[in-house]
Symmetry: C2
Subunit: 213 residues, 2 copies
């Protein structure tokens, strides 16, 4: 049986608040990249907590990535699978990518400190894709601009990391240099985020029963 | 004195839920465009309620728009203004625009039904900018593609519309055809959204005192 963990909006808000000081101190991000749809809410909340008095907000670029599953109809062996079973996909597709022309002085990522934000690190497939593709873009931009030595530093913030074997992998130096921050590490549970709830009061009740504060 | 209205996450969630049937029935959007940062949260929540069984999620494109105020230091007459006073800006700047190359069959907006999502319609300046610029892009794409007659239909969803004189204006046909939906119409109050709260428990208490359900 899949264990479900219910998370309320206020819990998400507090996880962002709790993480903000460390993000500010250690990552000092100049730009956030929110992986949509799951990264939208934490990125927006984080932006409030990362704002420094007298400074403008840290800009957010949203990218859209989704894990695609081969449709059951094209996969005979899966024909008995009920349509509602949640199956994590394996192929990442883009629904939105960066628009660097609108960022002004941030117009390229070269030499910047960039925080990638998502809701959950499950199989790590999406995060691997995001980091690899962003690094590729940065390297192409660096060569085009003829820059040298300007190191671009990516860090990651997720609300939850599932403690399980990962299909995707992150760069060694990111992990070694602690540029990966999960507000909570959980088992291989099904995390129910509030933005997926049909009945938010019932959702909160279930979360409260599990000891939500 | 500025009247503040506190809105909880669960209220935002319920406003989206309440609006979803009308959006599905009347607007039938094929794409959402979330105006960031304020549109991120309602767009993500709406996506859950707009999902049809057996269909994929409606894709979200995030755009980033912010109202810029001339900095006090470059504006001598404003030198006495305390830094913390909230002043709605008048000039819209882009921090992110569309990436239509990643949308697959949605690769252009021509002939599509598009829902623009933001948190609040205050002076209407941002919404006017978004609609005008999107219409411009669509017209350019239509001409480039040689399409004829495919009408692109924009609609708008905001959580709150402030009932006040607007600086920005929306197309006549959009208003006449009821393609503008505000979950709530309020007076010229200061709306405190939860994603801007430092202390979310105190925020919720203030909202509850105001009669939040």
């Amino acid at each position: 049986m899949v264990v479900k963990e219910y998370v309320t909006y206020n819990q998400v808000h507090k996880l962002c608040k709790e993480a903000a000081p460390r993000i500010l101190e250690e990552f000092q991000p100049q730009l956030m990249i929110a992986i949509g749809g799951g990264g939208y809410v934490p990125a927006r909340i984080l932006r409030s907590f990362l704002k420094q008095p007298g400074s403008t907000n840290i800009p957010i670029q949203a990218i859209g990535l989704s894990l695609y599953e081969t449709l059951p109809s094209t996969h005979p062996s899966a024909s008995n699978t009920p349509g509602d079973v949640e199956q994590p996909g394996t192929k990442v597709t883009r629904t939105q990518w960066l628009d660097l022309t609108s960022l002004g002085e941030m117009e390229n990522l070269v030499g910047k400190r960039i925080l990638i934000v998502d809701e959950v690190d499950d199989t790590r497939t999406t995060l691997e894709y995001a980091v690899k593709e962003l690094e590729k873009d940065v390297e192409a931009a660096r060569q085009k601009l003829g820059y040298q030595g300007e190191k671009t530093v990516f860090s990651i913030f997720v609300l939850h990391n599932k403690n399980k074997e990962k299909k995707g992998h992150l760069p060694e130096d990111m992990l070694n240099e602690n540029r990966y921050l999960a507000a909570r590490t959980v088992g291989d549970v099904w995390i129910c985020y509030p933005w997926e709830a049909t009945d938010i009061d019932a959702h909160d009740e279930l979360a409260n029963k599990q000891g939500a504060k």
